[in-house]
Amino acid sequence: MRHRTGRVAKRLVFIPVAVFIVITLAFGLVNVLPGDPALLIAGDLASDERLAEIRAELGTDKPIPQRYGEYVHQLFVERSLGDSYFTKRSITDEIIQRFPDTLELVVLGLLGAVLYGTLLGVLSSYFRRRWPDRVSRLSVTITQSIPDFFLGLLLIYLVFYKLGWAPAPVGRLGLLDLPPERVTGAVILDTIIARDWGLLRTAAHHAMLPVITLALFYSSHFAKTSRAVLARAFTSEQVEFARACGLSEMKVVGYAFREARTPVLTYVGILFAALFGGAAIVETVFAWGGIGPWAIEAMTKLDVPAIQGFILVVGLLTLLVYLVLDLVVVALDPRVSYE
């Protein structure tokens, strides 16, 4: 037990260093980008005086070390991410407004991907080279070879247009629905908090297709990893001994599955972070209105504070997710602490 707490402590000491690195990266990545935001704001025809004026206003005329200092000062002293170059709105507000939507989509989508993917992996490895394995591999091949936006459009065409099972892809709720009272900003969660079950139904209904799109698209990762790990596990001595002791097949699958937990969890962490940008296309297709499309727009317009804010938030979130994952892995696997 002592070993474990030691490991956790080491992990926690690393956090401030990692946060500092993320902050520096968020600043560095944006400021070494070629292109001049002032030029984008003023347009190609602007005079040099006008450009200089805008640069002074944005602060981009100062040397980089000074700007870095000001950035850090702004973060820690003013506790602000700055304002958008274009809308002049606070980046913190923009992110707070959009972030919960994306979080909800990513969490639900990943949950679906993990459930569906590992189910495929379990079936595939348990019935190796028999029909469930073939079906599952076909599903993997299809979902990983179709681009996610196309998968989304395909689902819209089939499930909304042809079958009429899903509502129109117009966002979180129907056009005439009033959103629930904003508590967390996550619509589904807010409807639950407001105990508005009718609205929850609507929200869930609208979330169905985008969640399924993400779940299907990312399920292949989980299916492939869990299949590979489980195929080995099912022929392992551990599983053989479990069978030789007369354990039921359900228990045997459980024994084998424990081997696959760590790789699956690792994938959850990696994809979770990647999806904050990666879900942008799906968010656009379904008019979801999350943080992804907003970040992409900021990139194309070189809205430096917005890009920095996005990188910072996603970076910190990634750190947090990895930390939690590490703790979960340590909690689940008694061997980890000794390695």
Binding site: R128, T235, S236, E237, Q238, E240, F241, A242, R243, A244, C245, G246, L247, S248, E249, K251, Y255, R258, L332, D333, P334, R335, Y338
Partner: protein, 350 residues
Amino acid sequence: MAPLLEVNDLHVEFKSRRRTVYAVNGVNFSIGEGETVGMVGETGCGKSATIRAIIGLLRPPGRIASGSIRLDGEDLTGLDARRLRRIRGAGIGFVPQNPFGALNPVLRIERQFRNVVRAHRRAGRGRIREDALEMLNGVGIADPERILGGYAHELSGGMAQRVVIALAMVLDPPLVVADEPTTGLDLTIQRQILDLIGKMATTRGSSMLLVTHDIGVVAQYCSRLLVMYAGRVVEAGPTNIVLRKPAHPYTEALLSAVPRRGRRLIAAAGAVPTLLSRPVGCYYYDRCRYRGDSRCATETPDLKEVSPGHWAAVFYRKPTMSAQEQAPEKATTQAQAQEDRDGDDAPGTD
């Protein structure tokens, strides 16, 4: 009295699309109640396939092609998966080669005991814990309480194998099958574990099938011996008789390949056939020192009794004079050397 385990004309095949491996080709043997039987042979001789067929865990594409395996009169080859599962663990205990591989790495030992017991009967936690503690005591673990609360990786090799033996025997199976139970262990521990297995089988009155490639182990622990070659039992009989007077040239070759002080080590020439097809004639024909006429090349010898209780699958016994003189003498020295090495607890042979 009917034997506890009776294997009759067992055939096991590994059939894939391109080829079929005939791993076990008509194995016959039986194990009586309370008897400890050793099974020896080179790698690839069908030992593993035979015991895996017995515990019903042949790895695909392996399957029992024909024959019967009777435990207490019940044929296991015809059983459905449910019934077979109940036999495993409760009817037949299995002690595998590598104890670390066999234990679940992420479950506490107590939980593993619970899973095994509850796979067969309803039992409360406290009851199972008591049984587990008693078993662990029985396998010579000094602080069973601590072991129950711990994990597999905290155990040494010998300890892990003790825990595995306790798990395999917690349901008091009438038959224990041990598949080279000491291969993965230090030499110093091997002896302790074998002694333990022997003791456990005796005190609990179980029968045992001990699979090994170490003839020394068989000499010390088994009352009867089966020698396997190319998926067949080529010789079977009381250990002391088989070791003193091997009737099959393969047994002789195995005995010559055991290192002994003051004697040249003779490696058995040739290799086990690949068994991609069933050989024509005697399976040992290619490597046989004594092979004779066309009969050896065209007919497969069945086991026949060469002396009371001693069976061998041969047509001819040591046809040349020199061989007749040499072989038994050599075997005797080996058996004696064996006893010398094994010390006091070797079974009395005189």
